[in-house]
């Protein structure tokens, strides 16, 4: 039996993923409207999600935020959802952190990230891959499953 190393070429790789139920997002919008949007999403994200696929797009962004939280692997750390923003560069979604989470990512040695989003009729999902410096100060364990 071997323990597979968690770093390659002097860098540590972290992965986070999450699935969001599109109906849950629809229900939250119906129950709380703009308060829900403003609590969870940035103005830019709300703008990016206009149109026919508004709810699946919002659900995918929520999944991205939760995936990022898993990458941090610090359950007792505050996670203001709006400090995690999904932006776009052409067809590619990109991750942007701000405030305390940007500082924490720097502290953990985050060097680069890659984000993928998808959705079907019922669910949206996100996968985040982060490359960190090997000397990052975060937990050794991988992202949680909750």
């Amino acid at each position: 039996m071997i323990t597979v190393p968690g770093e390659v070429g002097g860098h540590r790789v972290r992965v986070g993923c999450d699935v969001a139920d599109i109906a849950d997002v629809q229900n939250s919008l119906a129950a709380f409207g703009d308060r829900y949007l403003r609590k969870v999403f940035t103005a830019s994200e709300i703008n990016d999600c206009r149109g026919l696929n508004r709810v699946p797009r919002l659900a995918a962004r929520f999944a991205a935020k939760e995936a990022v939280i898993k990458v941090f692997a610090e359950p007792d750390m505050p996670f203001p959802w709006r400090e995690i923003e999904v932006t776009r560069s052409g067809p590619l979604p990109l991750l942007r952190l701000s405030g305390t989470l940007a500082e924490r990512a720097q502290h953990q040695g985050w060097l680069s990230s890659s984000l993928s989003l998808s959705h079907a009729d019922c669910h949206a999902m996100a996968v985040v891959v982060v490359v960190c410096s090997a000397a990052d100060s975060g937990p050794d364990a991988g992202a949680g499953a909750r």
């Binding site: 139920d21 229900n27 829900y36 359950p75 505050p78």
Partner: protein, 81 residues
């Protein structure tokens, strides 16, 4: 306060069990509370108690049990009096 919190969990928590029946220390995530449902719970608690959750309490552990929620809500209610 715990009764009101359990009412909110019953309406918005989408849990697999009746929140009125769970131990105050029971892990709500283990009982089916999802991260997304915790957003609804938070917004409904803001309405029920006329409070606003600041960024510093937006953490997984805040919603992990009825006891934890009551502690946070209690401190927020006090701070708005």
């Amino acid at each position: 306060m715990q009764d009101q919190i359990r009412d909110v969990l019953a309406t918005h928590g989408r849990m697999a069990v009746d929140p009125h029946e769970v131990d105050a220390e029971a892990d709500l995530y283990d009982l089916g509370l999802t991260s997304h449902a915790s957003v609804d719970v938070m917004l409904a608690l803001e309405d029920a108690f006329d409070i606003e959750f600041p960024d510093e309490v937006l953490k997984k552990s805040t919603f992990a049990s009825v006891h934890n929620i009551a502690q946070v809500v209690g401190s927020l209610v006090k701070s708005t009096v």
